[in-house]
């Protein structure tokens, strides 16, 4: 995994945690939504905190799509779950929610699970009946680099 790919994984973590926190803060301001008034669920996106949260989650989604193009689903999800720790810190110190010691322990267990998978390979399979994505990318990347250098030469 290259530094560029690590930055994509870091982007997923940061955008996801920031987006979830902004949404939570916005929804607390908006109050509880009743099942009888579902239209308020659509209007709630006009709340600035929720709007910014959605922007962050769009950043999360873009990074997530990029990561899924070169890594397993079962690698990307745990590799980016340091976000749980960030989320708990944000909930504790910015949203002033009460975080009990059992929840902290839960976060520790989740982090341990993350440790298991991140030591393994990012891609373990090839979709049936298709070219391996990483080999394909190498073949495609080679002429593109030539093209870039020739453009730079001009």
């Amino acid at each position: 995994v290259t530094p560029r790919k690590y930055s994509v994984l870091a982007g997923i973590t940061l955008f996801g945690a920031a987006g979830d926190s902004l949404l939570s803060y916005g929804m607390k301001l908006a109050g509880s939504i009743s099942l009888r008034h579902l239209s308020s669920l659509v209007l709630v996106v006009l709340n600035p905190w929720i709007a910014v949260g959605i922007l962050f989650l769009l950043g999360f989604f873009a990074s997530y799509m990029v990561a899924l193009s070169w890594a397993d689903l079962t690698y990307v999800l745990p590799a980016t779950s340091f976000g749980y720790v960030l989320l708990t810190l944000i909930a504790k110190f910015l949203l002033h929610e009460h975080v009990t010691w059992t929840r902290w322990l839960g976060i520790l267990f989740i982090s341990a699970g993350v440790g298991f998978v991140t030591h393994g390979p990012a891609l373990t399979h090839n979709p049936p009946g298709e070219e391996p994505p990483l080999e394909l990318s190498v073949e495609v990347a080679a002429p593109s680099e030539d093209a870039i250098s020739s453009r730079a030469g001009r």
């Binding site: 509880s32 689903l73 708990t88 520790l108």
Partner: protein, 126 residues
């Protein structure tokens, strides 16, 4: 009663999110390495290729359902319970779904990770 609502919302998030994740992962594997493709064919071509993929579109619908369920759940429960609980359970469900539908090699290391995360979720809900 409020707690029951939160857990029902979490169950919906997990089901919709797992369906979405599997379909999006399948779509992106079909598209190929986005970084390399952007350099060779340009970002717009890659974006168009992603947007035309049926798995991507259905996956996006499932993720939208998961997102609105998350909004519901966040208005009822703490973010430090709802977000990690739904995301962690999704991770366990994804390990199973990825093995069955995406043919990923979910080895002992990845199952151990799934068990650790499941234990973590139980502690979060305690």
């Amino acid at each position: 009663m409020r707690e029951l609502y939160v857990w029902c919302a979490i169950a919906t998030i997990v089901t919709a999110s797992t369906t979405g994740d599997v379909l999006l992962s399948r779509a992106m594997k079909q598209v190929g390495d986005v970084g390399s493709l952007c350099r060779s064919t340009g970002a717009f071509t890659v974006i168009a290729r992603v947007l035309r993929n049926p798995s991507f579109l259905i996956g996006l619908l499932a993720m939208t359902l998961a997102f609105y369920s998350l909004l519901f759940a966040l208005s009822w429960g703490d973010v430090s319970l709802v977000a990690p609980a739904s995301a962690s359970l999704t991770f366990v469900a994804n390990a199973v779904a990825a093995k069955i539908f995406l043919h990923e090699r979910v080895d002992r290391r990845r199952w151990m990770a799934a068990l650790c995360v499941a234990a973590g979720v139980l502690l979060l809900a305690a």
